[in-house]
Amino acid sequence: MELTQFKELLFQAGEKAGFEEMELYYANGEKFSTKVYNGEVDSYTLATDAGLSFRGLINGQMGYAYTEKIDHSSVQLLVDGAKENAFILDTEDHEDLYSGADSYPALDLFADELENVSPSTKIDFLKEVEKACFARSNKVSSVNYCMLQSFSSDKRIANSKGLDVMDRGNGIFVFVSVVVKDNEDIKSAQKLAISRDFSAFEAEKIANVAVDEALSYLGAESVKSGYYPVIFKNKAAAALLQTFVGSFSADNVHKGKSRLANKVGEKIAGKNITIIDNPHDTKGFSSRSFDSEGVPTKPLHVLEEGVLKTYLHNRKTAKKDGVSSTGHASKASYKGTIGISPSNLYIKAGEESFDHIVSNSKEAIVITSLQGLHSGANPISGDFSLAAHGYLVKNGKILRPVNQITVAGNFFSLLNDVESVGNDLETELPSGGAIGSPSLKVSKLSVGGK
């Protein structure tokens, strides 16, 4: 059914049921993903999907319901569901709908050329990546993950207060994971490349990065337990930041789930730490011109030279704090309720190169990868104890690979303990946001090993 027609039916039924304000959130997309294994297509998936959510104000509360079946049968399901959901709410922080802004930033997040790349071209490229992995070293025993995914999506929010905004985007990514073997020693490494420009991908480059990294881990051993200076390589630093980024959410602050409560305006990190959220970076994959409530987005300094400038807000939390929304309302999808999440958020790059940080270290452990971030870290307290691997540095040189270690500390203490900030800002793409960091050297952390 046509969306505008569906909206009219839905809002009519909603009004009849007693809703005072109503909103429709619609998302649809197309997706192609494929995997190659030993020169053959291992999986191939095509999809077109869509979903729609309804929310409305009734009895002073905002009720939500959604459906993936968009036809007449769903109108009553949405209205009745949202009404029942609204009636059991008893929160005192009320949501309301946004009537829209005069202007929105124009962001170009859709590349037309990308839509013209055929599935067979994409598969051929993947086969090239796999071949290049094996060609790089005879120690490559398997390329256990060689996948590509391209996607395009449309989003529309329209409500009874006049808001009607649309956004469109597309992209493509390649992910490869290689396994290298030297006698009984097995190691692996991964590389993710993401873009809106297919021609920017180079098969050999992607393969070489993954293979070289995996090879560099062969012969890894643990280290003696103790306190070491630790250099978090950019990707590992970004993964750590991602784990604790929820602390900047005003919602978590209000719920007693953030250590940053009452800290706006205070120094919470070293002077060398600045954190920026930039929803307008057209290279970013969490870029957006409006947030999930329809509020226009803008770049924001969250932390400036160690001083906490603001939390991330949606309209509800902003109202409670007597400030304006920062445009960080988010929904995981049409299946979610309004929450808060960053867009492209990163620690600002410093001056030193990674190599320079290493060569300036008498003894240190470089951490290239952290595991178990969803379980070994307490996102509220900031405590973490995580399995890790990387390299041992002695006298300014990488001496050997290290594995089977854990690194433990507290994220908020660590922010005050950064000795060097690298110039190698790189962005990771975990769910819900794109988080970036340069490499960070921390003066001392507990490392568990032998």
């Binding site: 294994y37 297509v41 999986s43 191939y44 998936t45 095509l46 999809a47 077109t48 999907d49 869509a50 959510s53 939500y64 319901a65 959604y66 459906t67 993936e68 079946k69 968009i70 769903s74 399901l77 949405l78 569901g81 029942e84 959901n85 609204a86 059991i88 709410l89 008893d90 929160t91 005192e92 398997s142 256990n144 396994v179 097995i186 692996s188 337990s225 719920k255 309720t337 595991q371 178990g372 969803h374 379980s375 070994g376 307490n378 509220i380 307290s381 405590d383 104890s385 399995a387 594995n403 089977q404 270690i405 854990t406 433990a408 500390g409 507990s446 490392v447 568990g448 090993g449 032998k450």
Partner: protein, 462 residues
């Protein structure tokens, strides 16, 4: 959910380009999720997932497409697009669809859609009050409730036409304990393949109290020392380590490609003889159970490791073709958005003979992991890491002071070799298991076990 005649049309179209097997999966699922924070219901959302997945196999290759547009035009369009990925002649035919029925071994008393949400909230409040009133240091309590009612229709070109309905309910309690400088959390999340009767059967106050007790205990715990120690992993959710470190390695997904440490090891010793490891999707009303898998096969009890000897794998149809073996009723998927593949259902270490007390009394110094948290494993190397949510030092055969921030790391195959005591108190815990075919409900389970040595990470002194 879709007419038989349309399914036949789709399958005929699917086999036009050389495919030898076509499958249609239709899903219609109602979900409810409610969140109570600080005593207030602050989130409640419900809705319908709906879509159709079409899979075509050609020998060892598989292609898949899905859409949530159930019009004939849209379904045939996506089928043709997917079929285009194969090269060949359409010489396979479809067999007449047999309507199959079975007796459900997972009886449901109260379908969640028939229960008013106000009743669901009442039960959540009970949990909230118990946790909140447990101790003055409890600063925040969140209670979550979810239920789902999934109807599936699975048809394939070999004549399968079968429907199933899976109802699941889950509660989660999370407590935060704090003092001036610290915050610690505790949580517990029981669930079952049951309707609202689960909320009557569970001792709700137990879960609220445990979440609060864990948080409070951890608030006063010292940092766990790091090093290599004997580790006693308690029963129930403790089974998560072997789920990650061994269970995934027994799935056809990794075995078929030779990427698993268990590849080509059938009949060989992979563990001490006190270890028997089982996956059983037939356990009545358990969280990971279902009558049929997502290819329409009956689920069954699969003995994977028996007295230390590798006996079997978890195999789906495509994995079976690649391995030259029969499927084991183990094919699962999160939703129509995923092609199905080999997954676990309820996986557990079978009970041994020791009591928990004996195991502790036999340990001079070590770590007692009473409640495990989550973790992950690298499938290529079988290296794993797990968080301990509630841990203690064991000294001179007795449980001593609590410790926090402990992480267990190691290698799955090697840790399996080091299991040296198995308890007699098997219990199952509930989790969501993520892998190639999405996130699915799965039980992990075990009795209390002891591993002679695991690397423990923490930031305390021993």
């Amino acid at each position: 959910m879709i007419a038989k005649s349309l399914i036949e049309k789709i399958m005929n179209a699917a086999l036009e380009t050389g495919g030898d097997f076509a499958e249609v999966f239709v899903e219609d699922k109602m979900n409810t999720s409610i969140g109570l924070v600080g005593g207030k219901v602050e989130r409640s959302i419900s809705g319908k997932d709906f879509g159709i997945g079409i899979r075509i196999l050609q020998g060892n290759n598989s292609v898949y497409g899905y859409t949530n547009d159930h019009s004939e035009e849209a379904l045939l369009k996506i089928t043709h697009q997917v079929a285009q990925a194969l090269n060949g002649e359409g010489n396979s035919t479809i067999l007449p669809l047999r309507g199959e029925t079975f007796h459900s071994v997972h009886p449901i008393r109260y379908a969640p859609l028939d229960v008013a949400k106000t009743k669901k909230v009442e039960r959540m409040r009970e949990v909230y009050h118990v946790a909140k009133e447990y101790h003055s240091s409890i600063s925040q309590v969140s209670v979550g409730y979810r239920d789902e009612d999934q109807r599936v229709l699975i048809a394939n070109s070999e004549g399968t036409f079968i429907e199933d309905r899976r109802i699941r309910t889950r509660l989660s309690a999370q407590a935060v304990a704090s003092n001036n400088s610290e915050m610690q959390t505790g949580s517990y999340s029981p669930g079952a393949h049951k309707g609202f009767e689960l909320m009557d059967e569970l001792d709700l106050s137990f879960y609220g109290r445990e979440a609060a007790r864990i948080a409070t205990t951890m608030l006063h715990a010292r940092e766990c020392p790091s090093g290599q120690f004997p580790v006693i992993i308690d029963n129930e959710f403790g089974g998560v380590i072997f789920h990650e470190a061994c269970g995934h390695g027994l799935e056809a997904t990794s075995v078929a490609k030779g990427n698993s440490v268990f590849s080509d090891k059938l009949g060989e010793r992979v563990a001490p003889d006190i270890v028997t490891y089982i996956d059983d999707g037939t356990l009545s009303n358990e969280w990971g159970s279902q009558n049929i898998d997502d290819e329409g096969e009956r689920t069954r009890k699969n003995v994977l490791i028996e007295n230390g000897i590798l006996k079997g794998y978890l195999i789906d149809k495509l994995g079976g073709r690649r391995m030259g073996m029969d499927p084991t009723g183990s094919s699962r998927r999160e939703s129509y958005k995923y092609a199905p593949t080999s997954r676990m259902t309820n996986t557990f270490i079978a009970p041994g003979t020791s009591s928990r007390e004996e195991i502790i009394a036999n340990t001079e110094f070590g770590i007692y992991a009473k409640y495990m948290g989550g973790g992950s494993v690298n499938p290529a190397t079988a290296d794993y890491n797990f968080a301990v949510n509630e841990g203690y030092i064991i000294r001179n055969g007795k449980i001593a002071e609590p410790v926090r921030g402990a992480t267990l790391i190691g290698n799955g195959a090697k840790t399996l070799q080091k299991v040296d005591m198995v308890g007699n108190n098997l219990a199952h815990g509930q989790g969501m298991c993520g892998s190639v075919s999405g996130s699915i409900p799965a039980n992990v389970g075990q009795p209390t076990i002891r591993v002679s040595e695991i690397t423990v990470g923490g930031r305390g002194q021993s």
